[in-house]
Amino acid sequence: MDMTNSNRVALAAVVLAAVSLLALPASNIAPFYISFLYLIFFWISMATSWTILSGFAGYWSFGHAAFFGSGVYTSATLAAKLGVPFLLTIPFAAGVAALLGTGIGWLVFRMQRLRGELFALMTISITFVVAAVISNTPIDGGSGVYLISVPVPEIFGSQSGTIYLLGLFFAAVTLGITYGIYRSRMGMGLFAIHDDEDVAETKGVPTFRYKLGAIALSSGIAGAVGGVYSIYVSYVTVGETFEVTVIMYPVVMSIFGGSRHWLGPALGATIVTIALYGFPSGPQAALGRGGIALGLILVVLLLPNGVMPSLIGCWRRLAPKQLVPVQVLPQPLVPEPRVAAGAVAMVADTPVLECRDVGKSFGGVQALRGVTLDVRQGEILGLVGPNGSGKSTLINVITGHFKLSQGSVLFDGAPIDGLPAHSVARLGIARSYQIPRPFDRLTVLDNVAMAASFGDGRNENEARRMAAHWLGYTGLAKKAFDYPVTLNLHERKFLELARALAARPRLLMLDEVLSGLNNTEVDAALELIRDIRTRGTTIIFVEHLMRAVVALSDRVAVLNGGTLIALGSPEETMRDPEVVSVYLGGAHAS
C-alpha cells in the first residue's frame, strides 16, 4: 500500500519524537525533567488504560486506584521482601491487577440489569477493600514498605534513567494497544456496547468476552505501571497509594482529553500533569483535592466529549487540503448472489427454523405457552396477533436475547436455544427492531459496517464496502457519514433494514418495519422485502398492517395469548373462525 502525504509526515514526526525521547537520559539534562517526564508517561498510561474499558465501552470504573495499588504492592512485596529482581516483578504486578479486574468484570458483566452501576460500585468498594486487606496483613502492616535498597539495573548510568525508560516503554505500549483496539473490530464492538449493549450482542458482538478483554488489559496496564511507580517513590504506603485522587485523576484526564479517541487521554494526561505542577501538598492537600473534584464535575457537565473532537475539527479546517483525508463512500462490494439472478423465489419443504413447544415466562406471566412452528426455507412467514400476544417475545427467544423456559429452537436441525445471542447472529439469524435502535455515536456507514463485520465475518475494509452496498440498496448512500439522530423515522427504519441485511442473514426477522410509514413508503418497503426474499433469505415478518401481510406472506401464523391459534395460507388463516373472533373480532369489538 502506498502512503499518503499525511501518513508520511505523521510517521516522520513519531520516529523523531521516539528517538529523541529514548536518547534523553543519555544527555546531561537536569534530573528534575527526567523525573517530571516520567510522571507524564505514568499518567498517560493510567488515563489511556482507563479509557480502554471506561471510555470505549462506557463502563465507568472507579477502581483504577485498586488495580494500580495492587501492582504497587505486588512489586514492593516481591522486590523488597522476597528479593525477586525488580524487573521480574513487573509482569507479576500486571498479572495480579489483571486478575483482580477480570474477577470483578466476570462477576458484574453477567448481570442483565444495572451492569454499569454495579460495576462502578464494585470498583469503588474494591478500592477500599484492597486497601483494608493490605494494611491489615503483613503485606504492609500499616508501616509502609521501603524499596530504597532494591537494586535496579542502570541503563544510561543512572537508576532514574531506567525508571524513565520504563515509564516511556509502558506509555508507548499502552498507546499502541489502545490504537490497535481503536482501529480494530474490537474497538467497534466496544463502541457499540457503549451505545446499546443488547443490540450489539444481537448483531454478533461477543459483548461479554470483549468487556472481559478490555478490563483485563485496562487493569493489567494499571498494575504494571504501579509496579514501576513503587520503585519511583521508593517508599509505599496504603494512604498514598489508594488516595482518592488516584481514583479521580485518570477519569479527569481521559474525559478532559476525549475518552472516545485513542489519543485523547494522553493529551488530557499531559495537559493536566503540567497544569498541576507544583500542586499543593501538606496542609493544602485537602483543598487541592477539592479542586480536582470540582474540575471533574465541570469537565463531565460542560465538556463531556473532551477537547480531542474540537482539535480534530480545527485541524480539518486549518490544515492544508491535501493533508486532510476526504470522506469518500467506499467502493460498494456487491455480495455474491445466493440464487441465480432473476430467479423466482423457491420455497422448499425443508424447515430452516423449528420451534418446538417453546415457552417463556417472566415471573408469573406466561408470554409464550408451548408454540410449535416450522419456518420453511425461502418462505415469507407473516406473524400476526394482537398486542401482547407474544410476537416480540418469540423473536427475542429465537435471537437468544431471552432464555427459553421450556421447549427448544432448532436452526438447520441443530438446537440454538441456550446459545448466546452473538453466536445465534453469526449462524445467520438477524432481526430489525420495531423502534429503530441505531448506535447513536457511530455514523450511518459504521452502523451498517459493524453489522457486516460481526454478523458476516468481514474484515474492516470489506465490511465498509459491504455497508456501502447495503446503504445504496436501501437508498441511504447520501447519509453515509451522518449520525443516526439526523435521520427521519422512514430513514431510521431503512437503516435498521440495512443493518440487518449487512449480516447477510439466512433468516431475517422484521419487527413491524412498516409501522409509521405512509402508503408510498409501505409499497417501496414491500418491494424491497420481496427482493430480499428472491435473493434467498427466509423472512419472518411481524406486522399489524393486514394488507401487507396478505400481499407478502406465503403463510401466516397467528398468536394469541402466547399460543399459536392458526397457521396456513393467508386466505385460509383469515377465514379461520377463531382468528376472526380473537384477532379481527376482538379488534372490532374493542
Binding site: V129, I292, A293, G363
Partner: protein, 288 residues
C-alpha cells in the same frame, strides 16, 4: 485473635443487639440513596458526604453555639431539603445520565470531604452530651438509648415513606414515572415537580442520618468512604426504591458486621459488606 475460644454467649447477644441497632442507622443512610436510585435513576454518591456534613454541622452548632441537637437537626434537615432540590435542578439542566450522576456526585463527595477537612481538620471529633452514653439494662444486655431512638426513627421514616409511595397519588405517580417516564407524562403526571420533591426528601433524610451520626459516632472526614461499600450493599439487598427493604438490608449487614467484629477481628468488618455484595452477584436473586 485467631484460634481463641468462642466468645461468651452474652457477648454474642450484645453483638447481635448492637448489630441490629447499627443496622437501623445503615438503613437510614440507605433510605435516601435507594429512593433516588430507584425512582429518579440517579445514583448519589454525595449522599454519604451530605450525611457527614450534617453530622459536623450538628456537632459544630452544639459545641460552638450551644444549639440543642434537635434544633440543629431541624435546621440541617430544612437546609438540606433545598440543597436536594438544587442538586436535582443541576441534573435536569445538564440532562445527566445515570452513569454520569455517579461521577459527578463522587466528585461532589470529595469536595465536601475536603471542605470539612479544611474547616474542621482531619482530627477525630466526638459530640459529648449528658445523655449520649446512657443505656437501659435489660437482663444481661445494655441497650444504648440513642441507638435505639435512631433505630425507631429509621423504622418510622422507612414505614412512612413506604406508605407514602404506596397509598398517595404523589407516591404512585413517582413509581409510575420510574417505570415509564413518557407514558406517565402522557397521563398528566407532573414528573418534574415530583422529582424535585423526592430529591429534596432524599437529601433531608441524609440530614436526619447526619444528626444521629453526630450523636452516636466519632467524626472524621474520611468516614464518607467507609460507608460507601456498606450502604450500597444495603441498598442492593433491599431492592432499589424499596424503603422497608433498605431497613431490612441495613439490619442484615449490621448484624453480619457486629458478629464479625465479635468473633473475628474488628478490622475485617469492611470486608463483610463486600463479601455480601459478591455473594449477591454470584447468586443473582430475582429482585436485583
Amino acid at each position: 485473635m485467631g484460634g481463641s475460644a468462642m466468645p461468651h454467649l452474652s457477648l454474642l447477644e450484645q453483638a447481635l443487639l448492637t448489630g441490629v441497632l447499627t443496622g437501623g442507622l445503615y438503613g437510614l443512610l440507605a433510605l435516601g440513596l435507594s429512593l433516588s436510585w430507584g425512582l429518579l435513576r440517579l445514583v448519589n454518591l454525595g449522599h454519604f458526604a451530605m450525611a457527614l456534613l450534617g453530622a459536623y454541622l450538628t456537632w459544630w452548632l452544639g459545641t460552638s453555639y450551644n444549639v440543642a441537637p434537635w434544633w440543629a437537626g431541624l435546621l440541617v434537615v430544612f437546609v438540606f431539603f433545598f440543597y436536594g432540590v438544587g442538586l436535582h435542578w443541576v441534573f435536569m439542566r445538564f440532562r445527566v445520565t445515570e452513569m454520569a450522576s455517579m461521577l459527578i456526585t463522587f466528585a461532589f463527595a470529595v469536595i465536601v470531604e475536603s471542605t470539612i477537612q479544611t474547616i474542621w481538620t482531619a482530627d477525630f471529633r466526638r459530640y459529648e452530651t449528658a445523655w449520649g452514653s446512657q443505656s437501659w439494662v435489660v437482663g444481661s444486655l445494655y441497650v444504648p438509648k440513642l441507638n435505639t431512638i435512631a433505630f425507631v426513627v429509621a423504622g418510622a421514616l422507612a414505614a412512612a415513606t413506604w406508605a407514602w409511595l404506596r397509598y398517595t397519588y404523589a407516591g404512585r405517580a413517582l413509581r409510575a414515572c420510574a417505570e415509564d417516564p413518557p407514558i406517565a407524562t402522557a397521563f398528566g403526571i407532573n414528573h418534574r415537580g415530583l422529582s424535585f420533591l423526592l430529591s429534596g426528601l432524599c437529601a433531608a433524610f441524609a440530614g436526619v442520618a447526619g444528626v444521629f451520626i453526630a450523636l452516636i459516632a466519632t467524626l472524621a472526614p474520611s468516614e464518607i468512604w467507609s460507608w460507601i461499600g456498606v450502604v450500597f450493599a444495603v441498598v442492593i439487598i433491599g431492592g432499589l426504591g424499596n424503603p422497608l427493604g433498605a431497613l431490612a438490608g441495613g439490619v442484615l449487614i449490621g448484624v453480619c458486621e457486629a458478629m464479625t467484629m465479635a468473633i473475628v477481628n474488628p478490622s475485617w468488618a469492611p470486608l463483610v459488606s463486600f463479601s455480601v455484595l459478591i455473594a449477591l452477584l454470584l447468586f443473582r436473586p430475582r429482585w436485583i
